[in-house]
Subunit: 286 residues, 6 copies
């Protein structure tokens, strides 16, 4: 899945630089080192998964430096392996130093945690996908999803206009509950030819209600793995085409148990939080 | 420190909404619930520190809902206590649901972890400040710092143009090392009347070099607490006005030890990563 | 489907105003009428479908006028019926005059043409959906889709990251053609739990290939209605769950024929071009 | 008139790409074809006028592809003639495919309809200009006017701050009507040295009023060609320097009649709506 | 001319605030005065012309304060007269303090210098207009022109797409010089019905060449007043409809001389530079 | 200090171009000279200090021209010396002509006035710095500060979040005045390790109060040089580490007197206003 070329526009990268630079780099200006030829290397201090390296290279280029090497997002970086290297006038490299480091620390951290989940799930059975949610701080969607893709996961819905996902909170606003959902979906079935209908359920009974309403996919929220393992075969028997997702509180510590329940994929936010990767930055004269 | 009114412009909040909404909320459109009167409450499922609640209220308002209550950033929220509540047409509230939840989960998580560090440090001695770095994913500076301020910390430098902070990476670009730093700073002393000169040092010898170059503040990077405890009094004796910072790898597990070393403040990125606060969202007819 | 609240951010409406105003309204400045109290009405000169009226009202409000009435998007406007009315200082109303008129002329035109397609298709059989494509000039997606929703259609995919849609152009890049598509989709099936796989086909044989590759939906491009009518039952017999779309050159003149072919929905760009609605603007002293 | 280099800034092209791509191209990512070398050609399926080809080439370049050929805006494209061709990694080309096609379909359509109007008018008499209005959906001004320029027309006023254009709607806000217009214009005559005063008139009497107020140009709105043909010589006799425009409902079907009336130029919005040009896109391995 | 409502969009005002605030007001946060009720008054320390006061009030409102009074742009402010007053939480007012002061100091300074030029010219003869150029630092056009309008001037061309203005620099690129200009303008005369053709000339001979090419207006650059006074009647005799402008180095010290030359209007950049108005800011508890 | 690389993002330069170009260059389009090969030179008509030349070169490049030479910001330009030269199609150069000229006229003007202040102060004693304030029209911070840096000054605080600067206006909001300042600063001393505390004072007594509150720096506002000369030694004796600034009304006419008072640096806004540098633009065929 290292094929993804997630779209970051010019102004996003410029905004990141401006957030960190402010007006100008006071320290290098005072030390009068801005025009000295220099070399920079962002180096992983431990084994990790490269992610958002391409954006670091683009930032260097936009400041007037020359990227030299760039490990593609999705590749494994061994300890002390450079993720990105570049050369150019010191000011170009110093402007990108911390913002590049911060980007790589977050993105490689997410990618590596994602890769772990994928590998554990693969050991249980190769058919269970890892889907990453949109639960991360606002403004981070592109970074977070590029990193998750680099780790081998795939994005769960990326926004409200992409898929139908009926939550209990929607049901609470409908006076007749499940009946209104069934009728609402039936009324618009012709509009949903390209879309799957996903309904969140808390337990087996809700899953049956949801399937009866026409759900293509049931997304179980916070169901225990042992209960889920019991429900899945019964649901598949009754609705053969039904696809099943487990969501809510899935992490490296329980992903194996969830992967063994018989669902089709696991929906998780866990890679988005955790320690950043430890990325060192070496700056030397060139 | 709940006085801070960190500036978020209109387009930032709009960008957050657009990132999550995309074009429109497909599910509520299909279920035809958009114009039903509704009520929403973002509720902390455990005790936490409110942060960025004001921005959630502003987003609701911008979509046509009416904020009803809003715990100020910096206040403690007990379990099951609503952080923000609002009413209005369902579409206004559903558009803000997840983006509000994501914002609060990150910001309250950062604020609560910050508060813990502050409280531990305060038990050791009330004079030790907690300063939060700019090490977080690009694009998150305002959110991260507003949350840290809500937790009782204070921002370390917010960008390159704010303070002089000389790193070993700068020194590496100067042919004569410390001598060039000393001369560079001396040459510009008249420009630095309002600024303190901060120099990062790895150990006692480097700290002495730095102080000799005219540093107002030494920032120790990754020095062990016991070593630091030995160095601080010697440095203060020799340079009475010198201020001392410890940075690098400081977290809840070692903050007490660092707070006892005799430095003036601790520089930390640790609140920025960790589990999000658990924020539930209750949506009901109104 | 008049429930939709498509998201337009503040800067989009500001950009529209600035595009038309430039710096300031030279004519009303010279005539010194800017502060006179005035009333404005955007009036449909013929029967049409209201669309993007809410955005006109928002623009008036942002310039300091007070919207008075606003026919909701999706409602039918009889001839000479006001779509939006407002009062305020003349300059606020004059600034919005043409940009509001231009918006309504395009959006109501699209909505009315869409409504016509929907009504013709409904007469043939109520189960055939009208899905509107993303084929319109760049920058117009939100306007075009809000108008199409107001007319009773529903958006086909809104962008590249929303659904899988395999075109012949993709196949041309795969050395083994259909075999590579089948294997590629199989390899990622676990990632596609929430997504339907849509494959474009030119004829019955390609449709069979596509279904054999695991397509959930076949989208026929430019197939003649009579051929399509023959293919649909054969495909549905062989792959009972398969959904079928017709696309390419569908318009008011042939929509009835296409709606009778037995496909589930019709994919069309035709409402996006055609004459604008004729919207008059009455400005009077108030 | 193929000299025009209408200014499109970087963020406009980026916004167009982002509108269509969303986050990333799901299909090519899944099929793992993103890095394959490919070639793309946007080809006119019928004779048309090239327009906005330069912007397609710029988008390809910004995504990392290499434009190979580009027919300049304003040139005639014969059937099956490539408008733009490029090569590069498939993902760069696929990202630009539809947005480029949509841009060319709209812009070439406008340019070709404009060229037709220009040619018809030229057959009547070479001195009659075609001026294109600002009546098109908001957000489209640059695209629409670049296309109209490519077709041989010229923009009528591009915004409120560019020229004085007095409409009946302005007059309605002045208690003394024409008298107030005359006095207002007289009061500011010294400010209007560089500007012409254009006044819209419905008929001969209004035109005389307008000329008496100091109009440099009369713009007739929806006057029938035969009436206009009678008024023009009388007006020119009475006010020799007066210039005359016909506007309102001018299109390919009546442009010859209007061109023969004796006005100086025809103001029209008709090229902005109509069928898009039919542009095919060929993507092949390279 | 105090009717003008120059369009400033929301993001411009937000950008101004962000430029000055950065992240948050450190001083008021530390002093914990942000939520105290306060009152602010921006006061002219000397007689001046109010300009951009409306934008100061809008900024206060956007930060959560309540504007109380606002002298309209164009009104005369006596010494110690408040231009804008507001109340609200101290943080809202302190955030706007300096940016409001900076805006008023520049804009009132420009407006007052403009007013002086207008008054001097009016004493010579009421028919000579003052037109302000686009020669000011990039990014300042709206502020500068709103201020100039407040002072009683009127904008000369606001950008390249607004009028035809042929400079010697254009002529230098044409192999046949004046002949090419004459032919180029003749070729496009039908496109220029609404536009005047302005040609810059250095002296009488160039003015004759320009008028012979079809210029509607001659703009003399840096011609001495006495020479100009000789040329004007000769030109008006020969080309009765010709309008005449003087530009280049016109300022308060020579405006009377230029106003007496017989030109129609004076084109000047001089109000844009000069000392800022002296605006005091009083902040008190409320 | 010609090392500074102040950060201007792509959209700032694009906005400057769009502000001046509007839609397209009407004149060169009509004269059909856009594609002719041309050469441009921005030339100082008198001796000045180059500033923002790099941004002019970047604009030329972004329009498709090729910068040929560029005097670095901070270098001295003799009379008739080109600041920036470039070649390319005429349209690229004509689009940048005035916006480049305007930028250079303002920036070189500021830089030259700054250089004068710096040189006068240096003659009095090399230890007195010139610090430039943030008092300039909103939107101009980057341009103004880059120019001031080019002239040899250094920026005073660039925004509210950078330093602590207590004004009388803050004191007015504290019920107990100085006492509240002292306590507020003491309460947050641990947060201010990296920051200096600057307090504005009107006279000697206020300076003593401020120093007693813990000020690191006293900024005198509008104190007469002779009084200041008396206060400085007394303050330095009493608070040996205290740094002293003079601000308010310092300009070329009194900078020598202020530089001789014994303060550490002078805070001034005076370079930001004054006549623009006179920059000629030569455009020739190439």
């Amino acid at each position: 899945m290292n094929e993804s070329a997630l779209f970051f526009n010019t102004s996003t990268l410029d905004d990141w630089l401006q957030e960190d630079i402010g007006f100008f780099d006071l320290t290098s200006t005072l030390l009068e080192i801005g025009s000295r030829p220099a070399h920079i290397a962002w180096v992983a201090r431990h084994s990790t998964i490269a992610a958002c390296t391409e954006e670091v290279a683009r930032m260097v280029l936009s400041r007037g430096g020359e990227p030299e090497s760039c490990l593609s997002s999705g590749q494994t970086a061994g300890p002390e392996m450079p993720l990105v290297t570049a050369r150019g006038p010191a000011r170009a490299l110093l402007d990108c130093w911390k913002v590049g480091q911060n980007l790589l620390e977050y993105a490689c951290g997410v990618a590596a945690r994602t890769r772990t989940l994928v590998q554990i799930a693969d050991q249980i059975g190769p058919g269970v996908g890892i889907l990453t949610t949109r639960k991360h701080p606002p403004g981070l969607r592109r970074t977070a999803q590029k990193a998750a893709l680099a780790g081998g996961a795939f994005p769960h819905r990326l926004g409200l206009s992409e898929t139908i996902l009926v939550f209990p909170q929607h049901r609470a606003l409908l006076p007749r509950g499940w009946a209104d959902i069934r009728e609402g979906l039936a009324r618009h079935r012709r509009h949903l030819v390209e879309k799957k209908i996903v309904i969140e359920a808390a337990d087996f009974d809700e899953a049956c209600e949801a399937a009866g309403c026409g759900a293509d996919v049931i997304q179980f929220d916070k169901a225990a793995p042992d209960l889920l393992a019991g429900w899945c075969p019964r649901l598949r028997t009754r609705w053969p085409g039904l696809r099943l997702l487990a969501a809510g509180g899935i992490h490296a510590g329980n992903v194996a148990a969830y992967a063994a329940t018989g669902v089709d994929a696991l929906v998780t936010s866990s890679p988005f939080s955790g320690p950043p990767a430890d990325i060192g930055v070496r700056i030397t004269p060139a």
